[in-house]
């Protein structure tokens, strides 16, 4: 176990932090979140142009560990933008599925911020499972016709293109009936209605009414993208966890700073054990999450099996982030409930992120499927006899 960062990693972290602290005052962030685009596009492009969202992709320098360092800083700054769904998730999918030409045409502009993409997966019941994907893409004239409703699509209103997970044939729950299609966002038949969340990430319900695309829109193998999607979204979950950890740490830092300075009954409230112990519990939780993310990321980078480590990270972070923000509120007392405290930036994000890419029970179930596969479900990996390494 080596927890140290090498000099390049340290420099990267410092650089990202410096960039973000200059541009993420509370007032600026709220203006961005409430603007028509729901994030500062200029700022996001400047960020992307620095190459910070390319880590962890095949053909680019740096690994998922570097990506996690970057996203932890994004989480700490609470900067809104399509970091996860638009860049990381679409990027990972293109990296894993796209052919040479598609990568050149689509991946590069996405990673340097020239084009804006949103990945459309979830539907009415919100589950990340093939049986919950009902949107159809029928083959017609060498292309496809899409009909169905995607929901909770981040930054749906500003996206130039959607990557849509669609059912391309019938059969069972559909693990082998799923395809990925690239759809220009301005095509006829696409209707977007905002779905404002407690953290407004520009989410929308995107309706596809007989939307036609050509055969070149297909990314990856017809009918067979689900296993790749599942794997890549597991990598993406680790990246999301890194952002969550940055946020949880920032919320804890705010609470600790407050507890040290706020005096009641003639002493700093942090001197009361009830307060100090609760903050200590937060540190334990955040540390657990940090280590879990570091482990998952290094397993991915080393080409080792990462399924359990990644699901463990998300199962931990999905609980820890909201629990840390809740504790931070309690420690802040009333002043933390005002909108002019930064704390809610984290509280509101924690709500959305805990559920994104699978909540705690989703990932615990996936771990269960590793040590006790359910009948009818394909066990992708054998965890072996002892997994306590």
């Amino acid at each position: 176990m080596d927890l140290s960062l090498n000099p390049e990693q340290q420099a990267l972290r410092a650089e990202v932090r410096e960039f973000l602290t200059q541009n993420t005052e509370l007032a600026e962030l709220l203006i961005a979140e409430r603007s028509e685009t729901h994030y500062d596009e200029e700022l996001f492009r400047a960020f992307a142009r620095r190459g910070w969202l390319q880590f962890g992709l095949p053909g680019f320098a740096g690994g998922v560990l570097e990506l996690c360092l970057v996203l932890e800083e994004v989480g700490r700054s609470a900067c809104p933008g399509p970091f996860q769904n638009g860049a990381v998730q679409c990027g990972l999918l293109l990296g894993a599925l796209a052919n040479q030409e598609q990568r050149g045409d689509w991946l590069a502009p996405l990673l340097d911020g020239r084009r804006r993409a949103s990945l459309c997966v979830l539907e009415a019941d919100g589950q990340l499972a093939p049986s919950s994907i009902l949107l159809r893409a029928e083959p017609v004239d060498g292309g496809f016709e899409l009909s169905g409703l995607k929901q909770l699509v981040p930054y749906a209103g500003t996206a130039d293109e959607f990557y849509v997970v669609a059912r391309t044939r019938d059969g069972g729950p559909g693990e082998d009936c799923m395809s990925l299609l690239r759809v220009e966002a301005r095509l006829e038949g696409i209707h977007i209605r905002p779905q404002r969340g407690v953290f407004d990430d520009g989410a929308g319900a995107v309706e596809f009414c007989r939307v036609r695309v050509g055969g070149e829109a297909l990314v990856g193998e017809l009918h067979r993208v689900w296993p790749v999607l599942e794997d890549q979204l597991l990598v993406a979950a680790v990246a999301l966890c890194a952002e969550m950890n940055g946020g949880a740490q920032a919320a804890l830092d705010l609470a600790v700073a407050h507890a040290r300075q706020r005096e009641q009954f003639g002493r700093p409230v942090g001197a009361f054990q009830a307060v100090a112990h609760r903050a200590a519990d937060c540190l334990v939780e955040v540390d657990a999450c940090r280590l879990a993310v570091a482990e998952a990321a290094s397993r991915i980078d080393a080409g080792l099996d990462f399924a359990e480590a990644a699901s463990a990270a998300k199962a931990l972070c999905a609980v820890a982030y909201p629990s840390v923000t809740a504790a931070a509120h309690q420690i802040h007392g009333g002043v933390g409930y005002y909108e002019d405290s930064r704390l809610h930036l984290y509280t509101r994000r924690a709500e959305a992120m805990a559920q994104a890419l699978g909540d705690a029970s989703h990932h615990l179930e996936r771990i269960a499927c590793l040590w006790a596969p359910l009948p009818g479900r394909i066990a992708r990996r054998d965890t072996g006899d002892s997994t306590w390494t």
């Binding site: 589950q127 779905q195 709500e351």
Partner: protein, 417 residues
């Protein structure tokens, strides 16, 4: 409500029953209270029907309704005698036991009526306990009829859990007092006519010996009310008093006796039954939702996880209800609840947080949608609740202080400063 003997908290469980003949404990309210509740329920159903509320929503107000609606609604509740149901009849009150008032609070919360923070619930106790005959005549009938809104100004920037840190001054003049200072985190001051506040009247002695309560007309010159947004969209207030001149009759109770009066008033209706009303509503709505919505091809209520979690919450709502009823039972007997009141507050406010957390995990990613969002389950109630339930464990005596109270009063633990 009939309830068996209250167990001392430090008595180990499982001893032989002390009273073999005692009837099984009956946890329902008395028939009379139940009848009253039924009546009140009908009232709220009608009052909060869609036609009545349409066009009156206001997310900037804690109640979710605009002021015109709130005032009209409270007047109608007042006309029916609900607001002062447990207040003395000489001022127009109903003279009924506190269980009636608590039952009303429960139903108001359950129906999300803008009738939880009424002038009576906020200031009624201190007014009845310490108001002069003149003040009672002036204010109580209006409060009971629902014709006036009030607010509470105890907290300041330097004084939250420890109110002895207040800095607000009330300088004694020949013809009254001059108020100088700022109250913070005040609920509803932007619409209230009056604030009940505490200020230091003798700065040369400790706060406990040199403070007084006042009833201040918020329209007086020098009062400035600043609405500050909370993280859930509605506003609290900072209220600035700059050389505000009040008459002598604004003093509530004894000069320099404010601290003791404030403490005594805090032991008034303390069941916190309204918290339980909110929790019961959340759980009922979740159950309804799960009985009528599917996931992965089966009803949510058929999912074993959902079944157990919702059952657990039902159990816990009933626990909270019993804790609250125990407090009412003590109070209706003229006893002052100790750790029982702290227990009721602690449990109910933390239960509200658990309900929102569990509810969100049951509803899935859509739970994080905001109120009124397109295709949000339960109209976005859980996302709103996740943010709304944060403050219950902080205000009205933080839960850390409640735990200390339970340890000291319920268990006789030594005090730590």
């Amino acid at each position: 409500m009939a309830l068996g003997p209250v167990e001392p908290a430090n008595q180990p469980m499982g001893h032989e029953p002390r009273n073999q003949e005692s009837r099984p404990v009956d946890f329902s309210f008395d028939a009379e209270v139940e009848a009253f509740r039924e009546e009140v329920r009908g009232f709220f159903r009608e009052e909060l029907s869609e036609e009545r509320t349409r066009g009156h929503f206001d997310p900037r107000d804690l109640t979710g309704f605009d002021e015109a609606f709130e005032r009209a609604h409270q007047r109608r509740a007042g006309e029916r005698g609900y607001l002062g149901i447990s207040a003395p009849s000489e001022f127009g009150g109903g003279g009924r036991p506190l269980s009636f008032q608590a039952a009303f609070g429960f139903e108001a919360a359950y129906h999300e009526a803008p009738c939880v923070d009424t002038a009576m619930t906020l200031v009624g106790a201190v007014m009845q306990g310490f108001g002069s005959a003149e003040q009672k005549v002036e204010y109580l009938p209006q409060m009971i009829r629902g014709e006036i809104l009030m607010s509470i100004g105890y907290s300041e920037a330097t004084a939250g859990s420890d109110l002895s840190g207040i800095a607000m001054r009330a300088r004694l003049l020949d013809d009254g007092f001059e108020l100088e200072g700022t109250k913070t985190l005040v609920t509803g001051a932007h619409k209230a006519e009056v604030m009940c506040l505490i200020a230091r009247t003798d700065p040369d002695v400790p706060t406990r010996q040199g403070s007084s309560l006042f009833l201040v007309d918020l329209s007086l010159p020098g009062v400035e009310i600043e609405r500050r947004a909370t993280l859930n969209g509605w506003t609290l207030c900072d209220v600035h008093f700059r050389g505000v001149h009040v008459e002598r009759k604004a003093l509530l109770g004894e000069l320099h006796g404010g601290w003791q009066q404030m403490a005594a008033a805090l032991t008034s209706e303390r069941s916190q039954l309204f918290h339980v009303g909110w929790a019961a509503r959340d759980v009922d709505d979740l159950i309804q939702h799960c009985r009528s919505h599917e996931r992965g091809g089966r009803l949510l209520c058929e999912d074993p996880f959902v079944r157990r979690e919702l059952s657990r919450l039902r159990v816990e709502v009933h626990v909270a209800l019993r804790f609250a009823k125990r407090v009412i039972w003590l109070q209706d007997q003229g006893r002052i609840p100790g750790h029982e009141a702290a227990t009721a507050k602690l449990y109910a406010t933390e239960l509200l947080q658990r309900v929102a957390a569990t509810g969100s995990s049951i509803l899935g990613p859509h739970a994080a949608l905001a109120r009124g969002a397109h295709l949000a389950p339960l109209g976005g109630r859980m996302g709103w609740a996740r943010l709304e339930r944060i403050h219950g464990t902080i205000s009205v005596g933080s839960n850390e202080l409640q735990r200390s109270a339970i340890a000291q009063m319920g268990l006789g633990m030594p005090r730590n400063a």
